[in-house]
């Protein structure tokens, strides 16, 4: 987490200034530079690709005059740097251009697809943490026991099973045969467009509107794909938790605590786990960020209109406005999660201050 290093601060001035204002300013500059770099690299890659965006707009049978007019209209006759400047200016005004594939403004598309991914990834991460952390802790404490073995197998399966297969089997069993959960899609069609869209996350929107039948339906649709994603992040989180814990449990302060006669519960859950919080935050943030990029295969199987499918489709059809827009969003997520975990470090670890 490179941004943590920015929090040194000046020697003079009030503690508030030193601890919060100056680091915040540095962080802001760092975000701006990172975003600018990200935009520039993606933009250049998009422009040097041997695909002519004009042709996909005007069609192959257009006259040379039409092609030229479209080229000028898009500003493609300008030098690359000028084109980038125009693009940057538009982006700063919140305008990512129009997607060739969907004919909608990219910002509108992202407003539609990102909440779907956010909802799914958040629930997935919650499941991953709630199950993965305790599983990792218990596996470390009872190293070599049957619980440890089970945790190992669970993680191994999570790492190695193709998500495509696991997803389809999940659908077949829990939706097809047992009928416990909803099928592909975010809602049954009867529930669509009932609650007003506020956040785009149906669970939150329906709870906000107090419409619990929609909430229940949305939950029945999201729980299977979220569990699937949760399983994958659980596999990672539990393995990492276990190895962090093992390191702590062999440390001297744990022996001291035990000698002092502290209850084992306190030793493990408060002292040992408390000391790996910072490392765990990094692991969880990384796994969350990964889910937020969108899981293309999960989205395909569950007909989940998320950002993973959106960016992939855009890439495959050279829809550069959509690719750039999507990349900016994903980049922003990484940066924000970075900052967020930095803040948590400061909160949990006095040394980081």
């Amino acid at each position: 987490m490179a941004l943590a290093e920015n929090s040194g601060g000046g020697r003079r001035g009030s503690p508030f200034l030193r601890h919060w204002v100056i680091p915040a300013g540095k962080t802001a500059v760092s975000i701006a530079v990172t975003m600018l770099g990200l935009l520039f690299v993606t933009f250049v890659i998009g422009r040097v690709m041997p695909i002519d965006p004009v042709l996909s707009i005007v069609g192959e049978s257009a006259s040379p005059a039409t092609v030229q007019a479209a080229r000028e209209q898009l500003g493609l006759d300008q030098p690359l740097v000028v084109q980038f400047w125009y693009y940057l200016r538009d982006v700063l005004h919140g305008d990512f251009g129009t997607s060739l594939l969907t004919a909608h403004p990219v910002s509108e598309d992202i407003k539609r697809v990102f909440p779907a991914t956010l909802e799914l990834a958040t629930l997935g991460t919650i499941i991953g943490v709630v199950v993965g952390v305790p599983l990792g802790v218990v596996a470390a404490v009872r190293q070599g026991s049957w619980i440890d073995q089970i945790a190992r197998v669970v993680a191994l399966v999570g790492y190695s099973m193709p998500i495509f297969w696991l997803g389809l089997m999940g659908l077949l069993i829990f939706y097809g045969i047992l009928g416990w959960v909803g099928g592909p899609g975010r809602l049954d069609i009867f529930y669509e467009d009932i609650v007003p869209q506020r956040t785009g996350m149906i669970l939150i929107d329906s709870a906000w509107a107090g419409d619990w039948s929609v909430f229940r339906n949305a939950f029945s649709h999201i729980i299977l794909p979220a569990s699937l994603l949760g399983y994958y992040s659980l596999a990672y989180i539990s393995r990492m938790t276990r190895s962090f814990m093992l390191e702590q449990l062999s440390a001297e302060y744990i022996t001291t605590a035990r000698v002092k006669g502290l209850p084992e519960r306190t030793v493990i859950w408060r002292h040992a786990l408390g000391n790996i919080r910072v490392q765990l935050i990094t692991v969880i943030a990384l796994s969350y960020a990964q889910l937020l990029e969108g899981s293309v295969l999960t989205e395909i199987i569950f007909s989940w209109p998320g950002i993973g499918q959106y960016i992939t489709n855009a890439l495959l059809s050279a829809d550069m406005n959509a690719v750039l827009g999507g990349t900016v969003v994903v980049g922003l997520i990484f940066i924000l999660l970075n900052i967020f975990s930095d803040l948590l470090y400061k909160f949990f670890d006095p040394r980081a201050k």
Binding site: V58, L101, F164, L168, L178, G183, P184, I300
Partner: protein, 532 residues
Amino acid sequence: MKRREFLAGTAMAAALSTLPMTLAQAATPPNMLVIANRIDDITTLDPAESFEFAGSDVSRNVYGKLVNFDPMDLDAGYGPDLAESWTVSEDGKTITFKMRAGVKFHSGNPVTAKDAEYSLRRAVILEKTPSFILTQFGFSKDNVEETIKATDDMTLVITTDQKYATSFVLNCLTSTIGGIVDMKTVMEHEVDGDMGNAWLKTNTAGSGAYKLISWKPNESVSLQANPDFYLGKPAMERVIVRHVQESASQRLLLERGDIDVARNLNPEDVKGITGKDGIAIDSELRGRIMYISLNQKHPELSKPEVKEAIKYLIDYEGMQNSFLNGQYAIHQNFLPRTYLGAIDDAPYSLNVEKAKELLAKAGVENLEITAGVRDAQERIEIGQSIQNTLAQAGIKLNLVVGTGKQTLSKYRARELDMYIGAWGPDYPDPQTNAGTFAYNPDNSDDAGLTGLLAWRNAWNPGDLTAQVDAAVIEGDRDTRKKMYEDMQREFLKTSPFAIMFQKIEQTGRRDNVKNLNLGGAITAVSYWPVTK
């Protein structure tokens, strides 16, 4: 990823077909039709621009046209729609349409000849991909004011640059680009002189059986019945098309009763649900054709006996019944079945002895040829099958597999001995295929007529070229039909093309859904006759 998906999908299909299942049942409401389809090809809903399958499905149900196909009787050909009747001038160049009275757009505005004039002019002026369907009649930006004209609110007059068969012009007007838009509504949304193109990409302004409620890209299309539809309010109040990419997911949804129709089932899934309670499988012919062709520059391949011998060296039935099962049907003529003038003649089947005789007669021995194949699974399999059967008569076939672009550019440069290809018609008139398979006015290399399949194979079709020209201007529909039939019979014997198969689309539906017509080879799906 593709391969992995494919393998996983196959494994899944295998697992699905072996598991004994009793699926819990749900059902969609009686006045709602829910369809799973791949709709990620929609990039625009503007009829002047739309040229993709899922887009045409929407357009057909939202926009009325001057003339149209009756979904319950596609074989009848075009009939009146927003135009109640029409007359053709003596010189065959001018068609005068009388508009149907009392029809309204979804906005409530009346449908007039002015709207028809605007819609057709607009399609010509905007010059989008499908505009050639209209401009081939000589309409251009500069002359539309004279050639497409509403003389009053109920009369539209169109004048072509020369005489064409009326059926040719009218067939073209049934395609998506012939959709009549609501001029007032569209012009209210014009931006920078775009004739409402940006707005119509994502909105609709039609008079058809359904109006668009929403199109969420890669997610769904929702349509609402138009209570004022001139043929009567459709039984299905709402139609929802959901984007479901995976065949296995579509199958589960159909079995559970959460959808009424699944449009992209793969052969394994079709097999898995055939005969299950409450589910019916429909097979409908589409327009795509599979063929092989022989380059007539090749000294041996241009001999009539060799051409005929190779047509006897293709295992049509074997392929149809094995790897193409349920996806392609044997068809040996250049017009897809359901097109005007289509015939069913299929004189060729695998006959190695007969082929050997023909080759001996031509004095051909130890022939070795090279075929270009695109890297698509089914074409490679077809190539391998032909390689095997040609070998039985002593012809060595080398398959060169390349990307679409590589193979096509060699084909267009007349460099391949043999090509294994597919062809999809552009508009619902026989000219779309006749004008490329059997038409080549100048066979020289310099002519560069790369758009014509006959030219690409260096084939001079002789008097067929003149016959194609004649059929295009024949005013009488029955005579014209006969002309195409005769052309195809001659083509079948003399051409260097062995046309093999026509595409079939298999659809799974709940068996309470009636009268669903996907449009065959000539048009798109129609929702308004559907009942449950």
